[in-house]
Amino acid sequence: MLLGAAAVLLLVLPFVTDAALGHGWVRILDFALLYVLLALGLNIVVGYAGLLDLGYVAFFAVGAYCYALLASPHFDLHWPLWALLPAGALLAASFGVLLGTPTLGLRGDYLAIVTLGFGEIIRIFLNNLNTPVNITNGPQGVSLIDPLRIGPWSLGQVHHLGGLEIPIVVNIYFLFLVGVLLAIVLSRRLEHSRIGRAWAAIREDEVAAASMGLHTRNLKLLAFAMGASFGGLSGGLFAGFQGFVSPESFTLQESVMILCMVVLGGMGNIAGVVLGAVLLSVLPEALRAAGGLQQDLLGRVWVDPSNLRLLLFGLALVLMMLLRPEGLLPARARQRELHG
């Protein structure tokens, strides 16, 4: 019953939003769904396996550039979607393995710093790999990327279903929604599997886990690669949606924001992570409105909204860890862990 109501709500939401608030707000919904996907991916790494990845956006970038380069006039390649998305996921996972192999056998915090570094390095490469051979087109980025297309259906154009007009942003909404629902089902299955149990055990006590026969390094690597492939997949969707990618989209701030979503919502709990992602992707829009409010009330913008946004994210991370480390909607085991 409740499920039915939720399904109807999700179905009509984009149309209602579009009618009431316009395309812009449906776009915000699209991005919210994309962030949910990213947060669910990072949740496998941070929430399930207890590994801190501070450069998650790097995998997002790898997926996005993979799509951009294989489906744009830049190299004049135009791969189909069914090949593009797996390619991005696979490439991102390979980067994850490359990065995780040397670090995951060591103390957990090395991974944090290495991923932090990787997140920056990947941007340096994207920015500079335009000379002498132009691979990434440097700071200008890659544009005119092929829109997402499922068989004969391009999601990059308006469709008509009976008398109903379906704008592009609504097409995208439904594609991303399917992606998110799929990711939720897969996350749940992983969590309650032999592998998910092994991750939880490693998070609880690595030495005891190893003594029970768990190959801890490989299992952590698996979690890391799984998370990376989620990131790569989302990156592909992002590129196809935007039609344009540039290094500027993949900053440390994005990584921090995704981490913030996972932490705020509740590490390890799917509902919490979804809530966190939706809240934090819609909140900045509210803050943007706050910028206008400052203008109206105080005559000038005292605090730059984007600045304020990051400041609040940073504060949220600190305060959540100090006051409510299990997040808004905690996972059962996490709550005990953090208050035990």
Partner: protein, 307 residues
Amino acid sequence: MDTFLQQLINGITLGSIYALVALGYTMVYGILELINFAHGEVLMVGALVALTVIQGLTGWGWPAPLAVLVAVLAAMVVCMTLGLAIERVAYRPLRRAPKLAPLITAIGLSIVLQQVAALIWGRGYLSFPAVLPPVSVVWGGVIITAIQGAIIVLAALIMAGLLVLVQKTALGRAMRATAQNPAVAQLMGVNTDRIIAWTFVIGSGLAAVAGVMVAAYYGVGNYTMGFMLGLKAFTAAVLGGIGNLAGAMLGGLLLGVVEALGAGYIGDLTGDFFGSNYKDVFAFMVLIGVLVFHPNGLLGSRAREKV
């Protein structure tokens, strides 16, 4: 050959700064086994405070050397207070929490510090007043500027002072005991909370000085300047063997030299495929390399997991 020597000097200058910052990471890590992600931001705050003070004082007609001295002291005071506050507010309450918690607060704090700095000093690049006369010594075709000389000498003095502090004083003894085994140190009457606080204070003081040096060396300061520098200094600490003071110094110097030489020669080595804009990548490559081949670092001893 001249390029080589010149890059070597540049590398040693940069390396001295890395070493000062690396000491902060390594001291905290040695005792708490925590990467203090906010350390780079402390350095940034130090640099920007000094910058503001120098501008203010020289504006009032103070002589430059005096203004610099006051600025460095002010930066140290601010940073030490900041370090103390960070430890107290963000890390101490989480000392018994799972490992992930302090790592997350650390990254959160680092973002907060950056954004607060952006609010105070703006997002642009602030130019650091030229406080030392632009004189230089030319020696065998190699140019050593006054600022380079000052950085190298000052860093060496500070590091020597730190070694004396750690090896010869009661505080240093207590720090070493706490690093060895906090529980036992506490039983022996060491106030470990106080020692940990001191560790943050000293590390932050070093970061303040390093911050002023970087800003003076490059002539600019910015609210993001601590990030990459922190990452590199951490790499230096890992390279030398994290938790080991001499290792941090050695690692810092080595990393500075590798980076300078790398930036100088990467074009030649790769047939101009990679240019010096990749210099920030070197530190990262070194970090990965060390973790793969020698995770305990050059001078570190193998850490034992307590069962």
